[in-house]
Symmetry: D2
Subunit: 96 residues, 4 copies
Amino acid sequence: MAQTVRGYTATKGQLIDRLARIEGQVRGIAKMVDEDRYCIDVLTQINAVRAALDKVALGLLDGHARHCLAGEGGGPTDPDEQVKELMGAVGRMISR
Amino acid sequence: MAQTVRGYTATKGQLIDRLARIEGQVRGIAKMVDEDRYCIDVLTQINAVRAALDKVALGLLDGHARHCLAGEGGGPTDPDEQVKELMGAVGRMISR
Amino acid sequence: MAQTVRGYTATKGQLIDRLARIEGQVRGIAKMVDEDRYCIDVLTQINAVRAALDKVALGLLDGHARHCLAGEGGGPTDPDEQVKELMGAVGRMISR
Amino acid sequence: MAQTVRGYTATKGQLIDRLARIEGQVRGIAKMVDEDRYCIDVLTQINAVRAALDKVALGLLDGHARHCLAGEGGGPTDPDEQVKELMGAVGRMISR
């Protein structure tokens, strides 16, 4: 059964679809560079890919918070360690 | 009793101390602008303030994940709503 | 004479005003933490400060690109070094 | 002749190589999701892609500042419009 989609939550299939689309976008950017397209337009496409990646990351984090913290999906079982790991991931996403 | 400091976790006193330091840093940046200091040096100070603010935000988020999700501190009590709210906050921090 | 305001461009007075407002916002956040206000609300205020700081940083960078690169305001005079320094500043703002 | 590589500057060939590598990384992330790999590990890979994209964006911006602002490569010829466009691009990269 597919999980309910709510907010950032996404099913595995949706995440894979989004990543396939991102892969195509990156290929399109390489083509733009190859064709010497105007740099500002290329940067706009790079920003679109970053926004799409952020959405995938949030979808994963949401699923992680819901499922892994519920004791499923591997990872630490100690709540303290779980929050520490989650905050480490959020910290790396913010302070890139 | 003070909470244990571990990773991003910070006591209320530590967060307030950090915010007082950030306030002083912002005042210092205004002084640099007023004195026509070299822009690249001012930008370096702005980056330092942003990094310090990120650390405060992570400290708060860590405390939130630990305490509020445990049903303390107000906010939604439904786990689904809690994760949704938490992810909303993370999303706004990432896609600023 | 005041500089023309266009896009991110800001006069020195405007930048100082914005920084004074940011200083007040940071003080307000410390007060919220002291009063044990709901963490998600505090995070919303932190995001507002970060957005305000980004605007100041862009205003400075804009002024830098306009004036310093024109050979005024100190800094390197070699165009190659100027672009290198500018990109270094942008890089630190992006990959925080 | 290849352009000199200095700092963020990159030749067209280097940018295309990096983008091909990023495309492969994104494909690898989709595979990780498909194999139900631990979410925190997937997030680490997403962060690596974002950092790689930032490097490409800075390489493009550096080339833009060097070449397009020198009147080559299309885009506005009025210096005021050029800086405005450049700052718009930087602003969108920062406040994503």
